[in-house]
């Protein structure tokens, strides 16, 4: 049985973004087969939207918007099931990217991590979508359903916070003049 041909846009999105989507879900739910299921579900919903004739100006942003909703639904389902322990990258040894990534020893990265941990969830989400998924301001705005100006201002504020911390650390570690 042959499946219906995919629209060129969907094929292009799959080749360009399936890896990014896998990373997106892995960072939120841990590595495993479930991640591929979530990626497939995302593209399935995307295909339905295209079949409905939806005009997408920002297809990648729309795709990640679907991924975000699916991620939320999966998270909610996980919490409903009392037998499954929610993924916690900080405590997990064998889950996901946290175990794969070699933690940097750079003090500045550690300082940046501490600063970012103190930012609002919205800012941290924006930073992740930007630096991990490489989404543009407009795409992030579409994913989160907020104005582009908000994305820009929150990102600038986050960068300014990190910079302030790095500058303070550099000043502290600089040798004082006699």
């Amino acid at each position: 049985m042959e499946s219906a041909p995919h629209p060129p846009l969907l094929e292009r999105l799959f080749s360009e973004s399936s890896g990014d989507l896998s990373r997106y879900f892995t960072r939120r739910h841990g590595a495993g087969e479930a991640v591929q299921d979530l990626v497939q579900e995302t593209f399935l919903q995307m295909a339905r939207s295209l079949e409905d004739g939806r005009n997408l100006e920002c297809a990648r942003g729309y795709l990640f918007g679907i991924a975000r909703r699916i991620s939320q639904a999966a998270w909610t389902q996980r919490h409903k099931d009392q037998n499954v322990i929610p993924f916690d990258p900080e405590s997990a040894e064998s889950h996901g990217e946290a175990a794969v990534v070699v933690l940097p020893t750079d003090d500045r990265v550690t300082a940046a991590r501490e600063t970012i941990a103190g930012l609002s969830p919205l800012q941290r989400e924006i930073l992740d979508l930007r630096f991990s998924q490489d989404l543009s301001y407009a795409e992030i705005a579409q994913v989160l359903g907020i104005p582009v100006g908000t994305v820009r201002s929150r990102l600038h504020h986050a960068v300014a916070e990190v910079r302030q911390r790095l500058s303070a650390d550099a000043a502290d570690s600089a040798p004082s003049n006699p």
Partner: protein, 166 residues
């Protein structure tokens, strides 16, 4: 150009978010200003460190169930509480000026015209005519004019109400 504006532009530039024409202007500016160029280098460095931290620490990503709505800032309630007083102060200043203007219009006129608006009904005793300040300058003054200032229910500004009496 203010420092903050320059920093914001540089961040957007490194993010690839500037329009080409703005990008060209910024690059020309940076080429002519070593201090700005150094600032750009520091911002680029900060962005690189931030990117490393984000990529290396997935635990920083809020869990999917997290409400991303930001709580109001601590300073906001105090600011809100001050705003009505500022509005009142501004309204008082406007009201004082308008009252003086009304007094001068009334005292300086010897005409028999109805003042702010024409029409027989409006000349009746105790008749109230509401006008906007901009209109008041274009009408002949009245010796009996008095003015009352009321609130702005329709959010279009203060109402300057002329009350004609004996």
């Amino acid at each position: 150009m203010k420092t903050q504006e320059l920093q914001a532009l540089i961040v957007d530039w490194h993010m690839g978010e500037l329009r080409p024409e703005v990008e060209a202007l910024l690059e020309a500016y940076l080429a002519q200003n070593p201090a700005a160029k150094e600032e750009s280098r520091r911002i680029e460095e900060t962005l690189a460190v931030t990117k490393k931290a984000v990529q290396a620490h997935p635990e920083l990503v809020p869990s999917a169930g997290t409400d991303l709505k930001e709580a109001p800032k601590v300073g906001v309630p105090a600011r809100h509480s001050q705003l009505p007083w500022l509005k009142i102060a501004a309204a008082l200043a406007v009201a004082g000026g308008a009252g003086l203007m009304g007094f001068q219009l009334g005292a300086g006129s010897a005409g028999t015209q109805g003042g702010l608006a024409s029409g027989k009904a409006e000349k009746a005793q105790g008749k109230v005519q509401e006008v906007r300040p901009a209109l008041a300058a274009n009408v002949p003054p009245s010796p009996w004019a008095k003015y009352r200032i009321s609130g702005n229910n329709d959010r279009q500004g203060l109402l300057f109400t002329r009350v004609e009496g004996n």
